[in-house]
């Protein structure tokens, strides 16, 4: 499905632009491939090119309680924060459409996107200062989960908002003239078509929280580590192939899950298009 009009407009610049794009894509591929390659070394050091081939470091990681614990802690934090962020971001995006004043609408939108711009370390210091003042929070995950949720809300908000922008604005008045109360309109009319956007937002939020390292540097209770923090500290101590093996595994997991979701949504869209075409 090439875009003839754009192709014509670009003219002979097409080839150099594609070349630049391909070179830029190396910035994405190469570091990842190097990480993968060094993880199957049979030696005890990270070396490139890897010496020999073995999966011994994968075994080491998978049998190491520390790695596993940090993985599950990350999953727990990410799940809780994602659920909260999905709830808050979706409510916010829906609530925004109920605001009549344009100026107020703009401010609220700005507020919901602002956490993207928040420097994580400074925010972490803020949460840490709260913990110092409220000692009962000290050994809990509360401040970490709250913080991660805030960082994830904008992504859900943005995706659900753009989903909302694509829906017919007269659905709500239509439902209300047909006798539906506002909770029913929300539940039966507005939310169902937004489900794909909400799921997309949830996946995005989950990845953001799962990968976030800066908040956990300051906020985790002593003796616990999330996966990215474990990687971070491991990289500053011994640079062992354990690290790249763990990195490879978690990346492959993410690619499988997110890639699967992407494929499923592509297939759904294509099926919907075909259905429409068949009936037209």
């Amino acid at each position: 499905m090439t875009d003839r009009s754009l192709l014509r407009a670009i003219g002979w610049y097409r080839t150099p632009i594609i070349a630049i794009g391909l070179l830029a894509s190396l910035l994405f591929f190469v570091p990842f491939l190097v990480v993968v390659a060094t993880s199957w070394t049979s030696g005890s050091f990270i070396l490139f090119p890897p010496t020999g081939f073995s999966l011994q470091w994968y075994e080491t990681v998978l049998t190491d309680r520390q790695w596993l614990n940090s993985f599950w802690l990350s999953v727990v934090v990410a799940v809780i924060s994602t659920v909260a962020a999905v709830l808050l971001g979706t409510l916010g995006a829906l609530g925004l459409t109920r605001i009549r004043s344009r100026a107020l609408q703009r401010w609220v939108r700005t507020l919901f996107i602002a956490p993207i711009a928040l420097p994580p370390i400074a925010y972490a210091v803020g949460l840490w200062s709260v913990d110092r003042r409220l000692p009962f929070l000290d050994d809990t995950l509360v401040s970490l989960v709250v913080g991660e949720t805030l960082l994830a809300v904008p992504y859900v908000f943005a995706l659900v908002s753009s989903g909302l922008a694509g829906t017919d604005p007269s659905l709500r008045p239509a439902a209300s003239t047909l006798g539906a109360s506002w909770p029913m309109i929300l539940w039966r009319i507005e939310l169902p078509p937004l489900l794909p956007s909400i799921l997309g937002g949830a996946l995005f939020a989950f990845t953001v929280v799962f990968d976030e390292v800066v908040l956990s540097v300051l906020l985790l209770p002593p003796g616990t580590q999330t996966l990215p923090l474990k990687m971070f500290t491991a990289s500053q101590e011994a640079f062992s192939p354990e690290l790249t093996a763990a990195s490879t595994m978690v990346s492959l997991l993410a690619i499988l899950v997110l890639g699967g979701a992407q494929l499923a949504s592509n297939r759904r869209n294509r099926a919907a298009r075909l259905r429409r075409k068949a009936s037209a």
Binding site: D3, I10, F28, F112, A122, V125, R132, L258
Partner: protein, 292 residues
């Protein structure tokens, strides 16, 4: 169907909106997230201010921070770094988005896959990849050696040069995504019209494509810039101590120097500066409207 008569008249001025419009609706939808913002954003920022004012040495943490050469150096370095990263990212992002739009099928897939790979893998993993490439005897050295271009170990690890490719790679998706959708939204008839009237690629780009994607470039650029101001992990691991960013200095105040009040004061300066830039840019360019 109810046939009750209308409720008694209120003395209040007539409601011009939908009659019986349930105020509860807006309340239920907006209050939870707004309350969360107060707790999750307002409280920590207030705690930061209190922490910064709570100075054991009796001085003013803000003046102390603003007269610390380490902090000022880091500040200048961070702003410069963010500006360079933003410029590189937006330029490369424009080219990348255009390349995605004009590539034939499988190349387009490859370019999108690369972008998604970067979005889906963690920053830590990507940063490790760059470390392994840039170490003195890392992958670049191996490649250069095999091609006969390099015989001495590479000297870029823990220098400024090492940070930039990694940071641009981290930020690139945030520039590519909005520009891609702006490119897709260009009116194809306008492009056809330009072609019919004999405009070449450069004229078409200047008169139609560039004006159409400029808002996306700006909003992507603003976002990249404010995010780059908060960069912590990548510069720390790749740039080394000599290229400490503001975030690095702040974390140092807490973790090694034992001066949380200075760290808090610096945090406020960083948050304040970043949010101020974001708000101004948002007013000027409607950044969040492109996202929300």
């Amino acid at each position: 169907m109810s046939t009750t008569t209308a409720p008694p008249e209120h003395a209040a001025p007539a409601d011009r909106h939908e009659p019986g419009r349930n105020r509860a609706e807006a309340r239920w939808l907006l209050w939870p997230p707004l309350a969360f913002f107060v707790v999750a954003l307002g409280v920590p920022l207030a705690a930061l201010v209190l922490r910064a004012l709570d100075n054991e040495t009796g001085g003013n943490s803000f003046t102390a921070a603003l007269t610390m050469p380490v902090f000022l150096d880091a500040l200048g370095r961070t702003v410069l770094m963010a500006a360079v990263v933003t410029a590189l990212t937006v330029l490369l992002g424009t080219a990348y988005a255009t390349a995605v739009a004009v590539s034939p099928g499988w190349l387009k897939m490859l370019l999108i896959a690369a972008l998604l790979l970067s979005l889906w893998t963690s920053i830590m993993v990507r940063t490790f990849g760059w470390m392994l490439l840039e170490l003195p005897r890392g992958a670049i050295f191996w490649l250069g050696g095999n091609l006969g271009l390099m015989d001495e170990p590479l000297g870029i690890y823990q220098t400024a040069v090492a940070m930039y490719p990694a940071m641009v790679a981290v930020m690139l998706p945030f520039a590519v995504l909005p520009i891609t959708s702006a490119l897709a939204a260009i009116d194809r008839e306008q492009l056809n019209a330009a072609a019919v009237f004999g405009a070449g690629p450069l004229l078409t780009f200047r008169t139609i494509i560039r004006p159409a994607i400029t808002p996306a470039m700006i909003s992507g650029g603003v976002l990249v810039f404010v995010m780059a101001l908060g960069f912590y992990v990548t510069p720390l691991l790749l740039g080394g101590p000599a290229n400490m960013t503001v975030s690095g200095v702040i974390s140092g105040q807490l973790r090694t120097a034992g001066r949380p009040d200075l760290g808090a004061a610096m945090s406020i300066l960083l948050v304040g500066g970043t949010i101020a830039i974001y708000l101004v840019a948002d007013r000027l360019f409607k950044v969040s409207e492109k996202w929300g």
